[in-house]
């Protein structure tokens, strides 16, 4: 018997796990029933991009006036681009819109030879190419060292305060991240749950249990160190103009001190207000917005 018929034979056996049931296959064989022409671009999308577009987490009303984003990562880059003098517009967005799955990202204005989105980790390089500002990491060996305070100690305390403190989570995080994402209660519940789990997992990476008192103590010592680093200067590292480090600090200090966030319990603000130079630093930079 030729081998071809042998190969065909097993198909007549009982259906395996992977075969598509016949009615469903028949249904899908009918597709596509008709192909329509592509939709027009929505009215609100700019016809010709005149400005650079920065996509961040933001409320639409605030975005129109270029107000600060409510997400520290987004606010950091928003502030940095403002400080170095790049012109851009704010577009409210969410993770799913981003090519990398993370906000912020930037669509450069036309004409440009590379009309593609710039993710956050390449924004500094792009800004340096645009306005020829300095790469500040190279100027001071303490830059990366003190940045670790923000990336770890303050970020961990922030994660705890925003996501794991249930009163704050319901008053702030649900309002800002969960409710705009969907109108479906089930989706909202799941998303809220996933956010809290992700925050908890993040904190458990560095310790075997979550100790709120220790997180706060760490944040307090971090604020103290940052305050000592700033000293009497207007900007960090005694620079004449604010830069990336100022933007990174501002991203947290502004959101912690901002009344509009609606915090229910804000221990970090109490700790931060002990250092008047950091509070003044935030107020100085807020004038840029």
């Amino acid at each position: 018997m030729p081998p071809a018929t042998e190969a065909v034979q097993p198909e007549n056996k009982t259906p395996s796990f992977f075969t598509v049931p016949t009615p469903i296959k028949a249904l899908f064989d009918k597709f596509p029933l008709a192909t329509y022409p592509a939709n027009d671009i929505p009215q609100r999308s700019p016809f010709r991009r005149q400005e650079n577009q920065l996509f961040v987490f933001s409320e639409p009303a605030n975005a129109r006036h270029g107000r600060p984003s409510f997400n520290p990562q987004c606010l950091k880059w928003q502030a940095y681009l403002k400080f170095v003098g790049v012109d851009f517009e704010i577009t409210p967005s969410n993770n799913h819109a981003s090519p990398t799955g993370a906000l912020p990202f930037l669509l450069p204005s036309l004409p440009t030879n590379a009309p593609e989105a710039i993710p956050s980790h390449k924004l500094q390089k792009w800004a340096i190419e645009q306005v020829h500002c300095e790469e500040e990491q190279q100027l001071n060996l303490r830059f990366e060292v003190y940045a670790s305070l923000l990336d770890h100690r303050i970020r961990n305390a922030w994660l705890y305060m925003l996501y794991l403190d249930s009163e704050n989570f319901n008053a702030v995080a649900r309002r800002l991240y969960v409710i705009p994402a969907s109108t479906n209660t089930l989706v909202r519940t799941t998303l809220g749950f996933q956010l809290q789990t992700a925050a908890r997992d993040e904190l458990l990476k560095s310790s075997s249990y979550v100790d709120a008192a220790e997180l706060e103590a760490d944040a307090a010592s971090a604020f103290q160190a940052l305050s000592a680093l700033l000293g009497e200067d207007d900007h960090f590292f005694a620079r004449p103009n604010p830069g990336l480090f100022d933007a990174s600090v501002f991203a947290y200090t502004h959101l912690i001190l901002e009344e509009g966030m609606g915090w229910k319990r804000n221990r970090l603000a109490t700790l931060l207000r002990e250092h008047t130079n950091l509070v003044q630093h935030r107020e100085r930079l807020l004038r840029f917005f």
Binding site: N71, K76, G101, V145, S148, A199, S206
Partner: protein, 413 residues
């Protein structure tokens, strides 16, 4: 009452295998832990704080520091803890040859049955989880790697770098982040450079990291540095890339680590025998005390606990209970508000867990229903198939969390 410091035992000729320096004997389940009578203090910073209070400020290594010095002390400690931990995780745990050839046997020598089979894999997976997301805002590997690759190809094209220099040893860190060996090599190069260069510049020709002049004494930062750097400086690993890059990039720092090690732990290498048989072993400069033998009951409870912890859902229930206990125990150092918050958090995550159990049950029921309907399984073979599917479904909640976690790392947080 003498103070007792409970630590992970010696390995690699160092007094402890852990940088912050668990068998689960302390109530907090973490090492290092300091015991003074009935008081237990765990984690390095808490121990430093406790010693300062205990001695009324006398045992405070940082008391002579200026404000700027204090700030540097905090910032560099945080820097070493975050970056150094990642490198040690990569070197001792994620590099599978080092883990299998050195780390795992070292733990084996320290622990008694059955802990030697239980703890190393736990630490291994924790280290992998910690280093998984090296795309922290400050550890921008992707961009750096692309830039380096561009430079590399340009350099090769112009013949500046000999070909055999580019080819990094394939097996060095294979499996790390699922990248090719060359890419790994450059990532590691960038990571170690970022870690060692500020420390090397800070140390300079001084005897301690924060010393202003010759007569200064070490600060608590030097203790942290000694912990992390001496583990980075272990020479006799199967793949000593961390040791090599430390010697190449930071010669002063290597000498400092060696000097501090001799000063603190003495001339003779610290061996496991010192910790377990202090009387018969050769003399050591550290006052060791052997741990007690494990009782049958302790072995049994460890086995049970591990079994429970590796069962999905049972693990979550146990974690919540531990949290709640911590929250409600009177002697925990939490104030009433925090205690309330923690206990509410435990309750909430318990609710979350019931929701996910319900989801899994519903999902499994739907799948089985579909399979019955489509005639994929008949009733006689159902029990066997169902079990397999259930296992599969049970892991889903975790995967969903991971997905969001990866978004969260760079996005929402």
């Amino acid at each position: 009452m003498k103070l007792q410091l409970h630590v992970w035992g010696p390995a690699f000729n160092l007094p402890s295998i852990e940088a912050q320096s668990i068998p689960p004997s302390p109530p907090t389940g973490e090492l290092p832990a300091l015991q003074n009578g009935s008081v237990w203090v765990s984690r390095f910073r808490n121990i430093v704080d406790y010693l300062r209070k205990y001695s009324n400020g006398e045992w405070d290594l940082d008391r002579d520091l200026t404000d700027a010095g204090q700030a540097d002390n905090t910032a560099f400690s945080s820097f070493i803890e975050s970056r150094g931990q990642a490198l040690i995780d990569l070197s001792l745990y994620v590099s599978s040859q080092n883990y299998n050839g050195n780390t795992s046997p070292a733990y084996g020598a320290l622990l008694q049955w059955p802990n030697q089979w239980i703890f190393p894999p736990k630490l291994h997976s924790a280290a992998k989880a910690r280093t998984e997301h090296l795309g922290l805002s400050s550890l921008d590997l992707q961009a750096m790697e692309e830039e380096r690759q561009r430079k590399q190809s340009a350099a090769v094209a112009t013949g500046q770098i000999p070909k055999n220099f580019i080819q990094s040893p394939r097996e060095t860190v294979s499996g790390l982040l699922g990248r090719t060996a060359q890419q790994n090599h450059f990532r590691i190069d960038a990571l170690t450079g970022e870690f060692f260069e500020p420390l090397e510049a800070m140390l300079g020709k001084k005897s301690y990291l924060l010393a202003a002049n010759e007569t200064d004494s070490p600060a608590s930062l030097d203790c942290i540095a000694l912990g992390y750097l001496s583990l980075s400086h272990i020479p006799d690993l199967t793949q000593p890339w961390l040791h090599e890059s430390m010697r190449a990039k930071a010669p002063l720092l290597s000498a400092y680590t060696e000097r501090m090690r001799l000063r603190c732990f003495g001339q003779a290498p610290v061996e496991v025998a010192h910790a377990f048989e202090p009387l018969s072993a050769p003399p050591s400069s550290l006052p060791w005390r052997a741990p007690g033998r494990l009782s049958v009951a302790a072995v049994g409870s460890t086995l049970l606990a591990t079994l429970a912890d590796s069962t999905p859902f049972l693990r979550d229930i146990r974690m919540n209970n531990r949290l709640k206990q911590e929250a409600e125990s009177e002697d925990s150092e939490l104030n009433p508000i925090e205690r309330n918050a923690l206990s509410m958090f435990a309750d909430a995550s318990k609710k979350d867990m019931y929701v996910s159990i319900a989801t899994v049950v519903a999902g499994t029921a739907a799948l089985v229903g579909y399979m019955l309907h489509a005639g994929l399984i008949s009733v006689t073979t159902q029990s066997e198939e169902e079990e397999e599917d259930e296992d599969f479904e049970m892991f889903n909640p975790g995967q969903a969390g991971d997905f969001l976690g990866s978004l969260g790392d760079t996005g929402i947080f």
